[in-house]
């Protein structure tokens, strides 16, 4: 440790916070982190104000781990600020990478989101129909709140991103590997996704035999054979279209992959890739049957957007739902 310690920053934008926990999940490896780096900014853990960051010289942060999507003015501001201050900006986790679960808000706009969250939600008691405003007058003066955007964006739709670390949250082993790479200065070329080249299937221990399927089951509808590929049993598993690195954790727990790893390296659009794969094998070989009905066959897939773009809607080609004014 002759070298000067590295400066790390962590930031949490539109996300659930799980990524923060994932950092801690590397367990004793956290000590290795601390050994090689000082954490200069981590709002959840240490008390440093935005103005302290603004005061930092540009590129003074070595690596900034940024989790969460961009959906408010504040998040956008911080993304830009941290970009300026950081040598390396890592989109950490699905939300920063592809938009993640918060990105599903792109099926609606701000108005609809507010109405749903603050007015229509059955668990909300809001008799005065208060919704967030960017400014609010109180006796003490005017309170300013950051603007809430209509559209959720990924980090790289906002600023240049150097690396992506996919996953919801990124698997700790993967995080540890990255930290190790940083320590050894063995990072791959800029723009890389810090995950294996292959899909979840590559890591999935289940037996794959024949992908011809004709019936789709929801998870609760059957007890799947624990040895055999879930997709082959009719459970929609995003594994084939999802970048690995997770060691097929969910699948090992008898739950299908929902796609947090993002697209495989040679695919740009994860959802489209899975749509293509699934609709190709769903009913394949049965076309000659008398009761073959393509509409009925595909009708088994209920919510393509929610199913195939669960983590990647903002990163998709079409990015969001178009709403007629």
């Amino acid at each position: 440790m002759s070298k000067e310690k590295l400066k790390f920053a962590f930031y949490w934008a539109a996300s659930c916070g799980g990524c923060e926990i994932a950092v801690l999940d590397i367990n004793e490896k956290i000590l290795d982190v601390v050994a090689i780096a000082d954490i200069v900014f981590w709002p959840v853990a240490i008390d440093i104000k935005y103005k302290d960051v603004e005061a930092m010289p540009d590129k003074s942060i070595d690596v900034c781990f940024f989790n969460g999507a961009i959906r408010t003015e504040e998040q956008e501001h911080l993304a830009k600020l941290l970009r300026k201050k950081s040598k390396v900006l890592v989109a950490f986790g699905s939300c920063a990478h592809q938009g993640g679960i918060p990105g599903l808000a792109n099926v609606a706009n701000k108005k609809e989101v507010f109405e749903r969250a603050y007015l229509q939600s059955p668990s909300t008691n809001n008799p005065n129909s208060v919704t967030p405003k960017t400014s609010f007058k109180v006796p003490e003066g005017e309170l300013k709140l950051p603007e809430f955007f209509d559209t959720v964006k990924t980090l790289d739709q906002t600023v240049d991103v150097d690396y992506y670390l996919p996953g919801c949250p990124p698997p700790s082993a993967q995080v540890a590997k990255v930290v190790e790479a940083i320590a050894k200065n063995e990072l791959p070329p800029k723009g890389s996704v810090l995950a294996p080249e292959k899909s979840v299937c590559d890591e999935c221990p289940r037996k794959k035999e024949d992908k011809k399927i004709s019936k789709i089951y929801r998870v609760y509808e059957i007890t799947p054979d624990p040895e055999r590929c879930l997709l082959e049993q009719g459970i929609i598993c995003m594994g084939p279209a999802t970048r690995g690195g997770c060691e097929a954790q969910c699948i090992s727990a008898n739950m299908p992959c929902t796609g947090c790893g993002g697209p495989c390296p040679n695919e740009v659009e994860q959802g489209a890739a899975m749509i293509s794969a699934l609709s190709s094998i769903l009913g394949v070989g049965g076309e000659r049957d008398l009761d073959y009905d393509a509409e009925k066959m595909i009708g088994q897939v209920k919510d393509p957007l929610g199913t195939f773009y669960k983590y990647s809607l903002p990163a998709s080609f079409l990015r969001r739902r178009r709403i007629k004014k």
Binding site: D150, T151, S280, A294, E295, V301, R319, R322, K324
Partner: protein
């Protein structure tokens, strides 16, 4: 004065039936509006949904996938796959707020020159009614070039 909206439509045609059907429409001098741009593929089964989304993203007002009739596929069953992908994509497009009518999956045989022309004509009319693709319209932070 505004010019009449002329939709841009991207068509993926399979080499054996639909492309030949489009050829036949020409040979038979059947006239149809010049809004379609044809991309030849060996089989409609080659058409990846990503291409279709790419076409919309690139500013197409409509996308046509035309393949052999059921049972006629030169490659046995590629057309069925195209059909199923199309059905699912239409559902998806609707969720994206894009009118599913902008995507059309058709079976056109090599002998259906007239049908091919009719399909194009009808599609142009449908899309004219729908207006320009909502994807062309500028939206927050995301500018799509407008034709």
């Amino acid at each position: 004065m505004t010019e009449e909206f002329e939709p841009k439509i991207v068509g993926f045609l399979c080499n054996w039936c639909s492309y030949a059907g489009a050829d036949l429409a020409g040979v038979s001098r059947i006239q149809y509006p010049p809004n379609l741009r044809i991309i030849r593929v060996m089989c409609s089964g080659r058409v990846d949904p990503a291409f279709i989304l790419e076409a919309f993203r690139s500013g197409a007002d409509g996308v046509l996938i035309a393949g052999c009739h059921p049972g006629d596929c030169h490659y046995i069953a590629g057309n069925y796959k195209a059909q199923r992908r199309g059905i699912l994509l239409k559902k998806l497009l609707e969720q994206f707020g894009v009118e599913p009518q902008r995507l059309k999956i058709e079976f056109v045989s090599a002998s259906e020159g007239a049908k091919f022309a009719a399909v194009v004509k009808e599609m142009v009319e449908t899309i004219k009614k729908l207006g320009p693709s909502p994807l062309k319209v500028q939206m927050e932070g995301l500018t799509y070039a407008s034709g």
